[in-house]
């Protein structure tokens, strides 16, 4: 059944545009167009990122599971990324540093630049620079490492040997506990003006 659209068709690109509008609208409306609100999660004065991010992951994973049960979606026909352990860890370290130093991730920087944040525009420039450096040093630095420790297409449920629904339930409970904990933390942190 799913995907409803054949990849590569003109409708595919129209849907990309429409989905992008929704994505950009929500990111901006949630406050992800300001770096000081985003990095609040690391200093305890604003946990919007955690709240939005985990709620979105719980909603999307539950919804997709539901559609899978109803027979509209098959995990085999949608994109479930292959897990490359070490490249993902090292990539994540680079991204974590970029997040902390720059205050944005690529999606949020595009939103922030779109509403006129010049620091976000600088971050966008940096991303282009970083990817360009990566492509130019691809053969010497990354090509071999990139495909190491391939664990295949792996879902969290495979690792823990639990049904997918139970795994999503555990993740949902974990998210709710996190929301409670971060709200308590925020109460004890001095407000930061931004």
């Amino acid at each position: 059944m799913s995907p409803l659209i054949t990849p590569g068709s003109e409708f595919d690109l129209l849907w990309a545009f429409i989905i992008g509008i929704g994505f950009g609208f929500i990111l901006e409306a949630a406050g992800f167009s300001t770096s000081r609100k985003i990095v609040g999660l690391f200093y305890g004065y604003d946990f919007t990122v955690i709240k939005v991010f985990f709620t979105a992951a719980v909603t999307a994973s539950t919804g997709i599971l539901l559609f899978n049960h109803l027979g509209y979606v098959d995990y085999g026909s949608i994109y479930v990324p292959t897990t490359f352990l070490w490249p993902t860890v090292v990539g994540g370290i680079f991204m974590g540093l970029g997040f902390l130093i720059g205050g944005f991730c690529p999606g949020t920087s595009v939103c922030a630049a779109a509403i006129g944040k010049l620091d976000a525009l600088a971050f966008v420039g940096g991303i282009f620079g970083g990817i360009f450096f990566y492509t130019m040093s691809f053969e010497t630095l990354w090509m071999e490492f990139r495909t190491t420790s391939n664990l295949g297409v792996l879902q969290l449920s495979d690792v823990f040997g639990l049904p997918l629904g139970v795994m999503i339930l555990i993740f949902s409970v974990f998210s709710i506990i996190t929301f409670v904990v971060v709200s308590k933390i925020k109460q004890n942190i001095k407000n930061v003006e931004y």
Partner: protein, 172 residues
């Protein structure tokens, strides 16, 4: 201050809506949303156009050089154009469209710009190695419960929290 904060959408409502958009993306197109892939496609298109001989001989750009479709017609590039439009609509409705460099009062605009460029460079490199950024590899990966998605989000936030002390003076 509370005035400016109240103008933002409730985070849980924003999360549910964002989740529904990602879910719709998977059901309609078979893939989630992303951002860093669009940057890579734009760079690939540029290199293929302006240095075609180099592109063909390159291990990275080789696959783009012979491709029938221009990378600029790629899904993620259209999605990012949508993201820009969506952000402008939201920003306009909330009265947040204005040019400025946002930074902590303890640092200068120049320092903030330099930090943003450095951060972007790190994120650019990391997104290629991690096969996507916070949205494409992280959020969309978590939506389909992939180990990769949870792993990358865990590492990004883990690094952020462990090194936050070192960069505190730039933010708070």
């Amino acid at each position: 201050m509370s005035d400016t904060q109240n103008k933002y959408m409730n985070p849980y409502l924003a999360g549910v809506l964002l989740g529904l958009i990602i879910m719709a993306s998977f059901i309609i197109t078979g893939q989630g949303t992303g951002a860093s892939g669009a940057f890579k496609d734009i760079i690939a298109a540029g290199v293929v156009k302006f240095a075609p001989a180099f592109a063909e001989s390159s291990a990275f750009f080789g696959k783009y050089a012979g491709a029938e479709h221009s990378p600029l017609k790629a899904w993620l590039v259209f999605e990012i154009i949508g993201v820009i439009a969506g952000a402008i609509i939201s920003g306009a409705l909330a009265g947040r469209l204005n040019l400025k460099v946002e930074h902590s009062p303890k640092i200068t605009s120049k320092t903030r710009i330099v930090m943003a460029i450095i951060g972007g460079i790190f994120f650019g490199i990391g997104s290629q190695l991690g096969r996507g950024c916070t949205s494409g590899a992280g959020l969309s990966g978590m939506a389909v419960m992939s180990v990769s998605g949870f792993l990358v989000v865990g590492v990004i936030f883990g690094v952020g929290y462990s090194l936050a002390w070192a960069f505190k003076k730039y933010w708070v």
